[in-house]
C-alpha cells in the first residue's frame, strides 16, 4: 500500500474507514458487474447485428438466386430494393460466380466513400472485383467494425451449388447508438447503486462505529473530567459490548482503587499530622497551628499561652505496670485534656509523656495561669485502667506570646524550661516562664553532657548514712547515697541528676558504679572487723526493668568478696504491682543470691499493701513524711503503727527514715519500730568519718 494512502487510512476515523470499506467493496462489485454486463451487452448487440445481417443475406441470396441464374439484374435490384426498410444496411452487392458485380443496392443516405466498389478507381473488372472480394472476405467475420461499418460476405447457393456471392455493408451507427444507450443506462444505474450503497453504508457503519464513538467519547470525558464514576451503556453482546464491559470494569477498578488511594492519603495525612496513640495533633501540626495562631495574634494584638505539660513519674508507671498501661494512660490523659480546653485551643503530643498546649486570646497572664491550674486539677481524679486506680500528677511550664519570645522555637524552649522549674519545685504544679529561668535551661543540657563523663572523672562519690537498731542501740547498717561534685557548680543533688541520668541512659553505669563502690567499702569494713555492718544501695525502678540487676549484683559481690547478706537493695514501692511477674522473678533471683531487699519510701506510692506477701521482702522503710507528720496528728501516728504492725506480722523489719528529733524516736519506739535513720543519728557522711564514729560508738547519742 502506498505510504500516503496508508497514513491517510490510519488517521481517519473508524466511521470513515468503515464507509470506505463498504464503498470500496460496493464499487468493486458494481463496477465489475457493470463491466461484465456492458461486455455481454456489447457482444450480444454486435452478434445480433451480425446475425441480422446473416439472415438478411440468406433471404436476399435466396431471392436473387433466380435472377442471377437467369441473368436478370433488374429483377435482382427489385428484390434488393426491399433493403430500404433496413436502416443500417448501407449497400448490398450481388456478385456473379466470377466475382463481377451482377447487381447492387445503395442506401440513399449512406456515404459511399467507404465502399470499395464505389471508389473512383473501381472499374468492375474481374481482377479488381476478385481483389476487393478477397479483401472483404477477410473483414466479413470480424465483429469489430471498420470505418463505422461491418461487412458480410455470404455465398448465394442454389441447389447446393454456389452460384454467386452477396456482399452486405451495414452501418454501425445504430449499433453505436444502442451501445451508448446501454452504457448510459448502466452508468445511471451504477450511480443510483452508488448513492444507495453510500446511504446504506452510512446507516450500516453506524451499527459498528456508533458504539465505538460512544465508548471513545466516554473515555475522553473520563480522561478530561477524571470522573471515574462514569459508565457506558452496553450496546449489545458483540465484541464492542465486551469492550464496554471491560471498560466499565476498568473504571470500576480505577474508582475503587482511587477510593482506597484517597483513604490511604487521608490516613497518611493523619499519620503525618496526628499522633497515632492519642489522636492528638503531632509536633508538625502543632507547629503549623501555632504559627498561624501567632500570625493572627500579632495582627489582633492578642495573647497566646503556650504550655509544656509533662506527667510526673510516668516513667515509673511505664516501668512498673508496663508500656501498655502507660499507653492507655496517655490516651485517657489526652481525652481529659480535650475536655478541659476550648475548641480554639490546641493540645499536641510531642512524644513520650510530653504534651504541648497553646491557648489563643487568653487576655491576661492570670488567665493562662488559671488554665494551667485547671489542667493540674484535672489530674486529681485517679485514672482507672484495667482494674488499677492510677494517681498521676503533672508539671506544667507556661510561656506567653508575644511577651516572652517571638519565635516558636524560643517559646517552646521557654515552656520546657518553665516546666522543669515546676518539676524542680516538687512537681504537680506549674510555673510561668521568667527570663532568669534561661540560665537553668542551659544547665540541664550541659549537666547531662557532664554527667556522662562524671564517672570517669571521679566526680561521683558516696556518702553513707547509718541506720540504728533501736533495741540494741547499735549501728547495724548504712545507706549509700550518691553525690556529684561538679567542678564548676559544686555539689549537685541526686534528685536533680538522677532524672537526668535516667533521661539519657547513663543511670545504668552509675548504678553499677554505686554497687561496686559500696560493696568494696563494705568489704573494707568487714575486713576491719565490722562483720555485721550492711550496706544499702538504691536501685531505681528504671534500672530494675532494663538492667539484669541480679547478674550485676552477683558479679559485684564476687569481685568484692562480700558476703551477700551484707548488701541490702532498696527498691521503690511502685514495683509491688499485682501480676508483675518480671519484678517477682527479679526479686526471687536477688533473694536467692542472699541479698536483703528493702522497700524504700514506703507509703507514698500505690496502694500495694495487699501484695507485700507476694514478694520476698525483708524490710520496709517508712517515708520521712509519715515520720514528720506523726507529731501533727494522731491519725498519722496510727498509720505508722499500723504499717509497723502489719510489717511485723509479715516478718518484715521496719526502718523509719528522716528521724530528726528525740520525739520522733520515742514515738517510733512506742510503735515498735525496729530501726531508725536520720539526722538524729547522723547525716550522710564519707566512709572514713563513719568508720571512726563506728569505732567510738554512739554513746554520745541520747538513746
Amino acid at each position: 500500500m502506498h505510504p500516503v494512502l496508508k497514513k491517510y487510512l490510519t488517521h481517519i476515523s473508524i466511521r470513515r474507514k468503515l464507509m470506505l470499506l463498504i464503498m470500496a467493496a460496493c464499487s468493486v462489485v458494481l463496477l465489475a458487474s457493470t463491466a461484465a454486463y456492458l461486455l455481454k451487452e456489447t457482444i450480444s448487440i454486435v452478434r445480433a447485428q451480425s446475425n441480422d445481417l446473416k439472415s438478411l443475406a440468406d433471404i436476399i441470396g435466396k431471392n436473387v438466386a433466380a435472377p442471377l441464374t437467369f441473368n436478370d439484374p433488374q429483377s435482382a435490384m427489385d428484390t434488393m430494393a426491399s433493403l430500404k426498410v433496413k436502416g443500417d444496411v448501407i449497400a448490398a452487392y450481388i456478385l456473379q460466380q466470377d466475382t463481377t458485380v451482377f447487381s447492387r443496392y445503395l442506401a440513399t443516405t449512406s456515404s459511399q466513400s467507404n465502399l470499395p466498389y464505389e471508389l473512383p478507381g473501381a472499374d468492375y473488372s474481374p481482377e479488381s472485383c476478385r481483389r476487393i472480394l478477397n479483401q472483404l472476405a477477410k473483414q466479413s467475420h470480424n465483429l469489430i467494425p471498420v470505418n463505422d461499418q461491418v461487412v458480410l460476405v455470404a455465398p448465394i447457393r442454389l441447389d447446393d451449388q454456389e452460384i454467386g456471392t452477396i456482399v452486405l455493408f451495414a452501418s454501425t451507427q445504430q449499433l453505436k447508438v444502442r451501445l451508448a444507450v446501454t452504457l448510459l443506462m448502466s452508468v445511471c444505474i451504477l450511480c443510483l447503486a452508488f448513492i444507495a450503497a453510500y446511504l446504506l453504508s452510512m446507516r450500516l457503519q453506524q451499527v459498528v462505529s456508533e458504539p465505538i464513538r460512544i465508548l471513545s467519547d466516554a473515555m475522553r470525558q473520563v480522561s478530561e473530567t477524571k470522573d471515574f464514576s462514569l459508565r457506558v451503556v452496553r450496546p449489545g453482546d458483540d465484541e464492542i459490548g465486551q469492550l464496554c464491559d471491560g471498560f466499565n470494569e476498568m473504571l470500576q477498578e480505577i474508582e475503587e482503587r482511587n477510593l482506597i488511594l484517597r483513604q490511604r492519603q487521608e490516613h497518611l495525612q493523619e499519620l503525618a499530622h496526628f499522633d497515632a496513640l492519642t489522636r492528638l495533633p503531632n509536633r508538625i501540626l502543632f507547629h503549623d497551628r501555632l504559627q498561624q495562631a501567632m500570625n493572627l495574634a500579632l495582627r489582633n494584638d492578642q495573647l497566646i499561652a503556650i504550655m509544656f505539660l509533662d506527667l510526673d513519674r510516668f516513667k515509673d508507671i511505664n516501668d512498673t505496670m508496663g508500656h501498655r498501661i502507660g499507653d492507655l494512660l496517655l490516651q485517657q490523659v489526652a481525652g481529659r485534656m480535650g475536655l478541659a480546653l476550648r475548641d480554639c485551643d490546641t493540645v499536641a503530643r510531642l512524644g513520650g509523656d510530653e504534651f504541648t498546649i497553646f491557648a489563643q486570646n487568653v487576655k491576661s497572664k492570670e488567665n493562662g495561669a488559671r488554665l494551667a491550674q485547671k489542667l493540674i486539677d484535672m489530674f486529681e481524679i485517679p485514672y482507672f485502667i484495667e482494674g488499677n486506680h492510677l494517681y498521676v500528677t503533672c508539671s506544667i511550664g507556661v510561656t506567653f506570646f508575644p511577651y516572652d519570645a517571638d519565635t516558636m522555637d524560643l517559646l517552646l524552649m521557654n515552656a520546657d524550661v518553665a516546666m522543669y522549674h515546676a518539676k524542680s519545685a516538687g512537681k504537680n504544679t506549674y510555673r510561668l516562664y521568667t527570663q532568669d529561668m534561661n540560665q537553668y535551661a542551659g544547665d540541664r543540657v550541659a549537666l547531662q553532657t557532664d554527667l556522662r563523663r562524671a564517672i570517669n572523672l571521679q566526680q561521683l562519690y558516696l556518702l553513707y548514712q547509718p541506720k540504728l537498731d533501736i533495741a540494741s542501740g547499735k549501728i547495724t547498717g548504712v545507706e549509700a547515697l550518691i553525690r556529684w561534685q561538679h567542678p564548676e557548680r559544686g555539689l549537685i543533688s541526686p534528685t536533680t541528676f538522677i532524672p537526668l541520668a535516667e533521661e539519657n541512659g547513663c543511670i545504668q553505669p552509675i548504678t553499677e558504679w554505686v554497687l561496686r563502690t559500696a560493696c568494696a567499702q563494705a568489704k573494707r569494713w568487714y575486713d576491719s572487723g565490722l562483720t555485721s555492718l550492711s550496706v544499702a544501695v538504691n536501685i531505681s525502678a528504671y534500672c530494675l526493668k532494663r538492667q539484669n540487676i541480679p547478674q550485676v549484683v552477683r558479679q559485684v559481690l564476687e569481685e568484692a568478696g562480700l558476703p551477700p547478706r551484707l548488701l541490702e537493695l532498696e527498691l521503690t514501692e511502685s514495683l509491688l504491682v499485682e501480676n508483675d511477674h518480671q519484678a517477682e522473678q527479679v526479686l526471687a533471683d536477688l533473694k536467692q543470691i542472699g541479698v536483703t531487699i528493702a522497700i524504700d519510701d514506703f507509703g507514698t506510692g500505690y496502694s500495694s499493701l495487699s501484695y507485700l506477701h507476694h514478694f520476698p521482702i525483708d524490710c520496709l522503710k517508712i517515708d520521712r513524711s509519715f515520720v514528720w507528720n506523726m507529731q501533727r496528728g494522731e491519725s498519722d501516728q496510727a498509720i505508722v503503727a499500723a504499717i509497723i504492725a502489719m510489717a511485723h506480722s509479715l516478718n518484715l523489719k521496719v526502718v523509719a527514715e528522716g528521724v530528726e528529733t528525740n520525739e520522733h524516736l520515742s514515738a517510733l519506739r512506742m510503735c515498735g519500730c525496729d530501726m531508725i535513720q536520720g539526722y538524729l543519728i547522723s547525716k550522710p557522711v564519707p566512709a572514713d568519718d563513719l568508720g571512726e564514729r563506728m569505732l567510738v560508738g554512739y554513746e554520745d547519742t541520747d538513746i
Partner: protein, 183 residues
C-alpha cells in the same frame, strides 16, 4: 460428405467452364461471343428445373423426355447425366406414341405437329410432368413453359394454371422472371 460434395462442385464448375470455353471457342458460329440459341435454351431448361418441385421427389432420376427433333431439343442431350436437386437427369428421345409409358418428369417438345402436340398435352393433362416447348403460343395451348425471343434475348413464359394441373410447384422467383404468366 462435405469434401465429396465440394469436389463434385469443383468438378462441375470445371465441366461448366470447359463447356463455356468450348462453346466460346467455336469459331464463326452465329454471333460472335454469344452461345448458340439452343445452348442458351438447354441451359435455361436445366436451370428452370431447379425452381420446380414435383409431387413425388423420391425418384433417383429425373426423366427428361424429348419428343420430336429440331434446334430447340438439339442441346438437351447435353443435360444427360447432370444432377438437379440430387436427381440425375436422364435424357431420352421418345416417340409421341410412347410418351405415356415412359414416366417422364419433363417433356420437351421439338418440332412436333400441332395436332400431335395437342394430343400429347391432352394425354398428359394431369400427369406430374412439366411440358416445355419454344413454339409460339405453347402455353396457351396447355403447355407449362414456353420459350420466346424478346428483343433478341431468350425469355420464357409460364402457364401457372397448367403447372398446378400437373401438380408442379414453380418457384415464385421463376414466375417473377417470366415474361408472362397464365394464372
Amino acid at each position: 460428405m462435405r469434401r465429396l460434395s465440394g469436389s463434385s462442385d469443383t468438378a462441375m464448375r470445371l465441366t461448366f467452364l470447359s463447356l463455356i470455353v468450348f462453346l466460346t471457342g467455336l469459331p464463326g458460329m452465329l454471333c460472335a461471343g454469344e452461345p448458340p440459341e439452343y445452348q442458351v435454351k438447354s441451359a435455361m431448361v436445366f436451370n428452370m428445373l431447379k425452381f420446380m418441385d414435383w409431387p413425388a421427389e423420391g425418384a433417383q432420376q429425373l426423366q427428361l423426355c424429348v419428343v420430336g427433333r429440331g434446334p430447340f431439343v438439339a442441346g438437351i442431350a447435353t443435360l444427360h447425366g447432370k444432377v438437379v436437386k440430387g436427381r440425375s437427369v436422364v435424357v431420352q428421345q421418345v416417340s409421341p406414341a410412347s410418351v405415356g409409358g415412359q414416366g417422364c418428369d419433363v417433356l420437351v417438345f421439338g418440332d412436333v405437329e400441332r395436332s400431335t402436340l395437342a394430343q400429347l398435352l391432352e394425354q398428359s393433362r394431369t400427369a406430374p410432368v412439366v411440358t416445355l416447348a419454344d413454339t409460339p403460343g405453347f402455353i396457351r395451348s396447355g403447355g407449362v413453359v414456353g420459350f420466346v425471343l424478346q428483343a433478341g434475348k431468350v425469355r420464357f413464359e409460364i402457364n401457372q394454371a397448367a403447372a398446378l394441373r400437373h401438380r408442379i410447384r414453380i418457384s415464385s422467383q421463376l414466375l417473377k422472371l417470366a415474361t408472362s404468366v397464365i394464372e
